[in-house]
Assembly symmetry: C2
Homo-oligomer: 239 residues x 2
């Protein structure tokens, strides 16, 4: 697909921009020191927390459950995990509320700030993420991510890979699909974006899930761009 017409880049955030596993694990370790919690594998905790995300969204996608913001899904899963790992009595309501906000305070992969700064010079750049508006805006502000706009599932009341998210973004931007490029570290996100006519860029994030990573090491289709970092994407697009 010709990339000449692309005006807007839409970015998946969890995994593509944000290193959620490292960020959550570091925050867990810090909390454990402050509260003298029992020894816990916080990297495994981060992965377990994240693992609750897809089943939680699936209930919404199937219609089994009405629209439920991601922050609610995260909180429900947090309560389950704290019981599973024996920390239920150690952490009260205030601490759980604070922990749930960790998803609003994720650190980006190190290539994101320099890469996005270059991409922003030529393109409008925004999120297209299953995160909440306030979580994405807060994360962007804290990390200095220079988004021109934030698109969140909150706006579309649907989660990726539902068509409503991609079609909603195309409608809000009032552009042709081919003028928009979806950037993601997950093949299925790009498959959905392409099915609605968007251009596609795959960023390899082989460390996203650590020992749990079983897929998305490589492109599974001939995406318009295949790259290893945000700076690599900036180079591929000539910015």
């Amino acid at each position: 697909m010709s990339l000449e017409r692309v005006k807007v880049l839409l970015f998946d955030t969890f995994g593509t921009v944000a290193d959620w596993r490292g960020s959550i694990a570091r925050k867990g370790e810090k909390l454990a020191r402050e509260k003298s919690l029992p020894e816990t594998n916080w990297d495994a905790f981060a992965r377990a927390w994240r693992a609750g995300y897809k089943p939680g969204m699936a209930q919404v996608q199937s219609g089994e459950r009405s629209w439920t913001p991601i922050d609610v899904i995260h909180r429900e899963r947090l309560d389950e995990i704290l019981t599973d790992i024996g920390l239920d009595s150690a952490l009260g309501e205030d601490e759980r509320q604070a922990m749930n906000l960790w998803w609003h305070q994720l650190d980006p992969w190190p290539d994101c700030l320099p890469g996005l700064a270059r991409l922003k010079q030529r393109y409008l750049i925004g999120t297209l993420s299953n995160g909440s508006i306030i979580g994405l805006a807060g994360m962007g502000k804290r990390a200095g991510l220079p988004w021109d706009f934030i698109f969140s599932s909150d706006v579309f009341k649907a989660y990726k890979r539902d068509a409503a998210v991609y079609l909603g973004a195309i409608d809000l931007l009032n552009l042709e699909p081919a003028e928009i490029m979806m950037v993601a570290a997950h093949n299925d996100d790009l498959t959905a974006a392409r099915s609605h006519g968007m251009c596609t860029a795959f960023i390899r994030r082989p460390y996203e899930y650590g020992p749990d990573q079983t897929s998305d090491f490589e492109p599974e289709e001939d995406w318009d761009v295949d790259c290893h970092s945000m700076e690599d994407l900036a180079k591929a697009l000539g910015t």
Copy 2:
């Protein structure tokens, strides 16, 4: 109302942040020089163009017309005015399309960049505007407005002062109304925001409409903040 709880500032843009009259007039003068157009009062042109905005929105608000993006309303009005002022044959389709994008390239009042930089340190800052997403994002990028997010009527498929816009913003932010402050140069915008429980800040923009300005010289209610510039607002909020 206590301002201690405010976390997010929502800004009206046309008039409050952007000097649409001066911006459009300057662009008209430049175009006239380039194209050797007949002598035209471009300040009056800007005001006439803007004057088509409220009747255009009113048709949507009354239900007489289905949802129509502001860029379409602007374009319809442009065609009418060019006929009215005798420039219909002088400007073709390409030029009209480019002129319509002037609304995406407005200059902010000079106090906005320094004021918003200070306010952004403490608050999440975003637009709540009748502009289009791509227009607001483009304007912000071009001028360097440091928005954390963009809320546009496009998202709510309704124009201010419809309740759907304010209630939609409160819902998307997932905050209590009292945690949100509406900032505007127009009393009726603040009346609507307050009716939904938001805090309110009035910025005096006595030069917005030039000779056409007949209202909004002063606050018409006891808004939580009454100020003369964005820097003044930053000072009032202690940032």
